[in-house]
Amino acid sequence: MIQELPKISTSLFPKSDFPNLLTAVNGQALAYLDSAASAQKPHAATEATTAFVEHQYANVHRGVHTLSQLATDAYELVRDQVKVVLNAADRNEIIFTKGCTESINLVAQSFARPLLQPGDEILLTELEHHSNIVPWQLAAEASGAKVIAARIHDNGELDLEDFKAKLNSRTKIVAFTHISNALGTILPAKEMTEMAHAFGATVLIDGAQSGPHAAIDVQEIGADFYVLSIHKMYGPTGVGVLYGKLNLLEAMPPYQGGGSMIRSVSFEETTFAELPAKFEAGTPNIAGVVGLGATLDYIAGPNWNRDSWVRRVTEIGNYEAVVREYGVSQLAEIEGLSVYGDAEEMAGIISFTLKTVHPHDLGTILDQHGVAVRAGHHCCQPLMKRLGVPATARASIAAYNDLEDMDRLASAVIAAKEIFA
């Protein structure tokens, strides 16, 4: 098979910007293809974070002293940056959490649980990660509501007809992933949101995989809630983002109680702080949030704005699609190999199985060749059941991967096949 592909001599992000990518693994240069689990960190961002911790650090939103003010400014500046990344209407719509999972749990507990009545429905899709299933089950159990899932086609695309058919006046929440972590399918978020809104449902979109790979515009999509995982965006662990429409967040009760989220406290009564502080109880991950800001600066370059951000992430998405296409073309040459996910719109994920080699063995053998992939159910057991496989191997592509990584993947897969021949 001959593919017409643009020549890529170097990756979009130089590997040398990411010290961990230069680590030798099992005596081999590392081909890191597990960024969908967690992306590697650019040195520029970790250096900037260290500089902040060593020279500007103090607690935020508390002290009148200089360092506290510097730290607060640095922390709040990142809120403005994330507002631009998501094109939110108001900076108070951006809540920092400890991760994507916490963002979803916050909405499930503070928004869905008080709203849901027995017989109400929460509509998900078969593509969902456990973290976009279990929080809804917990909210449903507490309220007598029901969780249902829209089907997918065999190629990993959402069955929009089924999605539509499962929407009704009892549907109160619709939650779906923007990009499938297991297959790479990109969902038509805007269309789905419009369909859900037509039935009066509130929509949460799981952006764990879309953050670093696609331009996101929450206003254009019309999302009520949108969540991000920062460690998958080349940023630090322990930071997540919850975007929520202002009127929704304002009406919601707090998720956790503590410092920062109050206006006044007595033993008789507590009044809560305004947004976004209402949802940021306790000392936040200050260095993590500042590290996120530095990471965004790395991705988009100095003095970036909405336009240049959109240009950059679109370029990243297009680049990764080219690398994926090349990788798939190389893997397709291997007899007995099946790639899962062949939707019209695919992000940089290649999920595959090899007839004679279990994904777990494949994972070990690839690792010995310096190729890091994920092998398993990808926290998507319902999806694996739907596909009729116990597990797959998943190579996920980031902006620092190149065509050589795909060649290394293909030749390691061939080596694995030979062991089991």
Binding site: N26, H360, D361, Q368, M384, P390, F420
Partner: protein, 152 residues
């Protein structure tokens, strides 16, 4: 192939994976347990027909990686016709062999393990020890009258 892979995927392992022994259902089972590794999805069911303190029949069924499936296959060969007390003693030797921190302690009984010694390659890959151990823990659960086993 690097040294490590040859060590892990020895001929014995590949042979048992391709030609599993003792695979299938056992109709007259007195003990049955299913083991599951939630991390990777490996699943193995062990069935035993125990009479007068002896394992008359042992079968396994399930789905999993080569290490797990061949470990199960080799286990059926080792335990078929054995007194339960000997089987439990072998279970203990396997635990030491796979998981003892001290390398020389782990290797103490290697000459007594026969084909099972081929499982030793997982010692260098901590995440894969559970794969080799799942059938054994499932056997242990079955013999103790429990219905499920986990490697975690």
């Amino acid at each position: 192939m690097s040294w490590d892979l040859r060590d892990l995927y020895q001929e014995t392992i590949l042979d048992h994976q391709k030609h599993p022994r003792g695979k299938g259902a056992l109709e007259n089972a007195t003990h049955t347990a299913t083991g599951y590794n939630p991390l990777c999805g490996d699943k193995v069911t062990i069935q035993l027909a125990v009479n007068d303190g002896k394992i008359d029949e042992i079968r396994f069924d399930g789905e999993g990686c080569a290490i797990c499936m061949s470990s199960a296959s080799m286990m059926t060969v080792s335990l078929q016709g054995q007194p339960v007390s000997d089987a439990e003693e072998l279970f203990q030797r396997i635990q030491k062999f796979l998981t003892a921190n001290d390398e020389s302690a782990a290797m103490e009984d290697i000459d007594t393990l026969g084909d099972l010694a081929a499982l030793g390659g997982v010692r260098r890959l901590p995440v894969r020890i559970k794969c080799a151990n799942l059938p054994w823990h499932t056997f242990k659960s079955a013999i103790q009258g429990e219905q499920s086993a986990k490697t975690e």
